[in-house]
């Protein structure tokens, strides 16, 4: 029993307006049957300092990731995580979080690996809700547990592994595209060795050959909302030459910032095939004999 969509005119411009809600819509719908609001933050303590009334917390490090293998929870783990939070398969889940919704889009992406049907992002996230002076509480949310089915994770449709990216290299520019969403310094390879503080993330700096450099933040407006569709088209389509028919792989350092871009390309611009390479630079930059390009040019494999 999904909640009605937000009919806000800015959202209506996007390819899939049903994937976003405004702060006003959420304020009107808080407490509605069939709605669960999930806060997903970079900072593991932020939710506990105050959250949207009734919202539950999902921590990406300790709850969405498998604690041992570098992977996500499995179907059983996901069913428990949802069930405990009162999320059933037909629940409308609205995600919000800190840092321009990085972790909210990341959580939404993980929920999408399990095909959860109705997932939405609060446009502007935690920052906008707070900036508008809307209600926050430290009251503990105590959801009634529900049954969530054990659904097998689909790792083929919106997720890419290193081998997929290797196979993808030859297709870049021929119906395929790679998008690096890290900062320009990380892309060029300059940002790796800070004096005295060796960066632990990767032993090589640079980017995957052929990747376009489009830092994720270019899709975000000052108030942490997504930029209007026309602005996004100007960046990804006109400037970068991507097309909605392209087979796109997006990556960053560990797959969090690229979830933001995955969301933009998939749900706001309506690209048909976008995969998030969650291994990202911490895998690629440590792998033996994979091709790497340095400097500000895309390069080729």
């Amino acid at each position: 029993m999904a909640l009605p969509n937000d009919t806000d005119p800015k959202l209506a411009e996007y390819a899939h307006p049903e994937r976003l809600v405004t702060t006003e819509w959420l304020a009107q719908n808080l407490g509605a049957d069939g709605l669960v609001v999930v806060e997903s933050d970079e900072d593991v303590l932020l939710y506990d300092t105050g959250h949207i009334p009734g919202a539950v917390k999902v921590d990406w490090h300790t709850e969405l990731n498998d604690p041992v293998t570098r992977d996500y929870v499995d179907g059983q783990g996901f069913a428990e995580l949802c069930g405990e939070r009162g999320i059933s398969r037909d629940t409308t889940v609205v995600f919000y979080g800190d840092r321009n919704n990085w972790w909210a889009t990341y959580a939404l992406w993980v929920f999408s690996l399990f095909g959860h049907p109705d997932v939405r992002i609060l446009d502007g996230g935690r920052a906008k809700w707070v900036a508008e002076g809307r209600e926050m509480t430290t009251d503990q949310t105590k959801p009634s547990p529900v049954e969530y089915p054990v659904v097998e994770r689909d790792d083929a449709t919106i997720r890419a592994f290193k081998d997929d990216v290797l196979a993808h290299l030859g297709r870049v520019g021929r119906g395929g595209a790679l998008v690096d969403v890290r900062s320009p310094g990380e892309y060029s390879g300059e940002l790796l060795h800070m004096p005295d503080y060796p960066q632990e993330g990767a032993v090589r700096g640079g980017h995957i050959p052929g990747a376009a450099s489009v830092p994720w933040a270019r899709a975000a407006a000052e108030d942490a909302t997504f930029k209007p569709r026309s602005d996004l088209e100007a960046i990804y389509q006109q400037e970068q030459g991507l097309s909605a028919d392209d087979d796109v792989v997006a990556y960053c350092r560990i797959g969090e910032r690229s979830s933001h871009t995955w969301f933009v390309l998939t749900h706001l611009l309506g690209f048909g095939r976008v995969r998030n390479y969650d291994g990202s630079w911490t895998e690629w930059g440590n792998s033996v004999r994979v091709p790497i390009a340095q400097g500000s040019e895309r390069g080729s494999a």
Partner: protein, 145 residues
């Protein structure tokens, strides 16, 4: 492992409780991080940024010129970054006022004894490792002069 007494006490408090309570402790510590004194309030550019933290954290270290060269620590981190504030507060509670030699003697891996890896994740702990390294570097250069 010999730790300054306040830091040893913190480590004990953390290791005595389960993962959920460790988060609660860290939250309380984050709320206790002292405000910046006025002389740093308008001088953020004189502070050192700890880039390894997931949120902006600025750090200043002062070392007394005489005696056992006591170390004083000052931190600035936004309210929206309670975990980073919590880490800074651990440093402040544990090390502020300690002699330089004691601060330099803190093992770089002392944080493992806090048992936060499970509650917070190893990646997030990197910020605390970097904080200690940067504090030590500043203490070293201040005492070498």
């Amino acid at each position: 492992m010999t730790l300054p007494p306040q830091l040893a006490e913190l480590v004990e408090e953390f290791s005595d409780v389960g993962p959920k309570d460790r988060l609660q402790l860290l939250l309380e510590l984050s709320q206790e991080l002292p405000e910046l004194p006025e002389r740093y309030a308008d001088a953020a550019d004189t502070m050192e940024q700890v880039h390894e933290c997931q949120s902006p954290l600025f750090l200043a270290v002062e070392v007394e010129p005489e005696g056992d060269r006591a170390v004083h620590l000052f931190f600035s981190a936004p309210r929206e970054a309670p975990t980073t504030r919590g880490f800074a507060s651990i440093m402040h509670t544990g090390l502020d006022g300690e002699p330089a030699a004691e601060v330099l003697a803190v093992p770089d891996d002392f944080y493992t004894a806090l048992g936060l890896a499970q509650a917070v994740s190893p990646l997030r702990l990197r910020g605390m490792v970097a904080m200690l390294a940067r504090i030590k570097n500043q203490v070293r250069s201040a005492t070498a002069a």
